[in-house]
């Protein structure tokens, strides 16, 4: 009997309830979407900052001129990306030029910002040249360059706006040989660049500093702090906006639900006139609201996840490929908030049930 009543009430006032349902579902959608985006934003922003390259540099300290090559392996054991670099002065057409050597495979993620015409890596007998070097010696892609009397084929022209523009870049071993650096067990580099995840930066630096007492393990403050700062600001902006929007939509939806009860004074009057207890009537309205609440939370959650996924795919296509981008964990908070909203609003309005006098209401006043 009770449920027939509830279902009939829903059926009878389809249009009115659809609107209430829509309003609640929209706010649940917004809540899901914003929560999902918010919970994932830090990770995604940090990925963006990888483009800045290294955030730790291992340089020689004290009287040393080199860094032991074991530093690379140590950094990789910490879960960081690391690459060794060697710098020396070589001769091209009897003019001095800076020759840089690196492990191209390892250096790839650290040199994303290089703008390269051609290939980003060079093998044995090959080299990359900086844009200024190319212009100075009138070199083109594919040509051969005599470096210290040994020819190498130019595989790429690098322009970075930095030191690379005036360098010839060759594979690490070749540069080590040119520079006369020790090889084998005592192999060394001029410096080692390391990229650690923003969150673990301090601990990676501390661990490396402990394991490499002879070297200077430095945090690149400009990169690390800008990253931390920007990520924090975006996170807090999103958090405040999410909270604001939730508060406002909650208010809005609760007025809507109060109205659902208030506009039915006549019905309440009749129910009371034929002897229904106030508690029973309140329960009736509450179950109606809860049905609406559950339905709209489910609908809003579905749509919200889709919106969050879509936003993620539009803005961060590279992370969407990994299949992540929505946070299923937001279901409980969203449903909870939606149901609490519906219940609170209905209960607040239901207080009127006790005050309604059937005779007065039914007379139409």
């Amino acid at each position: 009997m009770f449920w027939t009543f509830v279902l009939r009430a829903v059926q009878f006032r389809k249009r009115r309830l659809t609107l209430a349902f829509a309003a609640l579902a929209v706010s649940a959608t917004l809540a899901t979407a914003l929560f999902s985006v918010y919970s994932d934003i830090e990770r995604k922003m940090r990925v963006q900052f990888r483009g800045f390259g290294a955030n730790i540099v291992i340089a020689p300290s004290g009287g040393e001129e080199t860094v032991p090559l074991t530093a690379v392996a140590l950094a990789e054991r910490q879960g960081a990306v690391a690459a060794p670099f060697i710098y020396s002065v070589g001769r091209v057409e009897s003019e001095p030029v800076v020759v840089a050597g690196t492990d191209f495979r390892r250096a790839g993620p650290l040199t994303n910002y290089w703008r390269v015409d051609g290939s980003r890596a060079a093998g044995p007998g090959e080299c990359l040249v900086g844009a200024n070097v190319a212009a100075h010696f009138r070199l083109k892609l594919g040509q051969k360059l005599e470096l210290e009397g040994v020819p190498c084929t130019i595989r790429g022209v690098v322009s970075s706006g930095g030191a690379e523009d005036a360098q010839v870049i060759v594979p690490f071993d070749i540069a080590a040989h040119l520079a006369g650096f020790p090889e084998g067990g005592k192999a060394a580099a001029s410096l080692v660049q390391v990229r650690a995840d923003g969150e673990r930066l301090a601990s990676v630096q501390a661990a490396l500093a402990k394991q490499l007492p002879g070297a200077d393990v430095r945090l690149l403050h400009a990169v690390a702090e800008t990253e931390a700062n920007v990520v924090l600001k975006i996170r807090s902006t999103l958090f405040l906006l999410t909270a604001l929007i939730l508060a406002i939509t909650t208010l809005c939806v609760s007025t809507n639900f109060s109205a659902l009860v208030l506009e039915r004074s006549k019905e309440i009057g009749i129910l009371k006139a034929i002897g229904a207890a106030e508690k029973k009537i309140a329960a009736l309205f509450l179950s109606e609201s809860l049905i609406l609440g559950v339905g709209s939370a489910a609908a809003g959650y579905g749509v919200g996840l889709f919106v969050a996924w879509w936003i993620g795919r539009q803005i961060f296509p590279e992370s969407a490929a990994a299949g992540i981008g929505v946070d299923y964990g937001v279901f409980l908070p969203v449903t909870g908030v939606t149901l609490a909203m519906a219940t609170a609003a209905t209960l607040a309005a239901a207080a009127r049930i006790w005050r309604i006098k059937p005779a007065v209401t039914l007379r139409g006043e």
């Binding site: 483009g51 002065v89 400009a222 809507n256 936003i311």
Partner: protein
């Protein structure tokens, strides 16, 4: 009569009207707050990103290739190219001068310190200048790298003084030599006082910074600098920015010239300093642009979602109010009011509610946006003056649009049926 009807309707049920207006106001507040934050956040983050340091490097148009490792030049000092120091200030007279947040002339030299070569840079730390129009402006290392950590004091070089021998020492150099702020240092046969130790983690740690005019005197290169580092607020590169300016049509060229792309700012610096080449430092410039693009895009989509939901909210509230008043509409029709008149009456009322709600909402929204700005970026956000009126207009439109469909249905319904309470 018409106006009386509208005002009567509002007076008769103030509570219901207040609820409607409140709902519209809340929707509008969400929209305004989101828009306000979205429109300014790019600029804010752009300024935060300037802590990365220079994104443009200006060097003399070199005849020879620089041969430099770790700041030490290995090229014989025969033909020195340079930029005249008295020309450097012209950087601030380019079209995008307001976007140039700082610049720093640098003269490089190498000093021998306890048997080791150490690069020494002569720089402006913070120099007060007079712009071409007489306005005061600041330049120097601290305008480009404002967030460097210093143990001790920054050198105060607001006034030229080539007799004062003080130095800022990079952290790695200081550790190696064991010097602290207040100690002295032998450079170029002169006694320098260490004013502060700089720690950045970068190659600056291996350098010593002294006053530009002092280094110019000591190495006898008066009025010469080797490079100028420039920090500029730029618009992220898009496909248009990657076009070759030489191949643009005059109209495209104007558009490119008048957009603060890093490439157009570099071009304008080369115009005022013909002896120099300005190149973007891609590590900073490129990534800065990418991060900014992401943030702008993200905020835009979130704002879109919020706008859509705010619009829907206003729409549904208005539809509800019309639905509730079907009886009233039927009575009006039964007493001989034409459909046009009834529609006009209701639209006026709805538009009025939309406008009032919109006004309150946009005011609250602007306050909220300003609050978010202060809470996160410590300064109130700058919102365009047009935002308020536009949002109010949108609120009125959404309100009228929401009321239109149920109103049409109500008007088409036979008064007798509606009064009996049927669908």
């Amino acid at each position: 009569m018409f106006l009386r009807f509208v005002s009567q309707s509002i007076r008769r049920s103030p509570r219901r009207k207040a609820m409607t207006v409140a709902a519209v106001a809340m929707g509008t507040a969400v929209a305004t707050a989101m828009l306000g934050v979205m429109l300014d956040i790019g600029d804010r983050v752009n300024r935060e990103m300037r802590s990365l340091g220079a994104n443009l490097m200006v060097t003399p148009k070199a005849q020879s290739l620089p041969v430099e490792i770790g700041g030490i030049s290995y090229r014989p000092v025969s033909s020195q190219d340079y930029i005249p120091e008295d020309q450097v200030q012209k950087i601030k007279s380019t079209f995008w001068q307001l976007n140039i947040t700082g610049f720093e002339p640098v003269l490089k030299a190498v000093a021998s310190l306890s048997g080791r070569n150490v690069p020494v840079e002569g720089v402006w730390f913070r120099r007060g200048l007079r712009g071409a129009d007489g306005s005061a402006l600041e330049a120097g290392l601290r305008t480009v790298n404002g967030k460097w950590k210093v143990d001790g004091y920054w050198i105060d070089d607001r006034d030229r003084n080539d007799d004062k021998l003080d130095a800022m020492v990079g952290g790695a150099v200081a550790r190696r030599l064991g010097v602290k702020p207040g100690d002295t240092l032998q450079l170029f046969g002169q006694q320098f006082t260490v004013s502060g130790v700089i720690s950045t983690g970068g190659e600056e740690e291996d350098r010593i910074f002294i006053r530009l005019e002092v280094l110019q005197r000591l190495v006898n290169r008066r009025n010469q600098v080797d490079a100028v580092q420039v920090g500029a607020l730029t618009k992220p590169e898009d496909d248009f920015a990657r076009k070759d300016p030489a191949k643009m049509t005059p109209k495209e060229y104007d558009r490119w010239y008048c957009t603060p792309y890093i490439s157009s700012i570099a071009h304008q610096i080369e115009e005022v300093l013909p002896m120099a080449a300005a190149r973007p430092i891609w590590r900073v410039a490129d990534n800065e642009g990418k991060v900014l693009d992401k943030i702008r895009g993200l905020m835009m989509l979130i704002t879109l979602a919020a706008l859509a939901s705010a619009g829907l909210t206003v729409w549904s509230v208005m539809a509800t109010t019309v639905l509730e008043r079907r009886g009233e509409i039927a009575i009006m029709q039964a007493t001989g009011a034409g459909n046009g008149l009834v529609a006009a009456l209701f639209s006026t009322e709805v538009a009025l509610e939309g406008a009032i709600g919109g006004l309150i909402g946009s005011w609250v929204g602007l306050l909220l946006a300003a609050w978010v700005g202060r809470a996160v970026f410590q300064t109130a956000l700058e919102t365009p003056a047009m935002l308020g009126p536009v949002v109010v207009g949108a609120a009125v439109l959404a309100a009228v649009a929401g009321a239109a469909q149920p109103l049409r249905r109500a008007l088409l319904l036979e008064p007798a049926v509606a009064l009996r309470g049927g669908e």
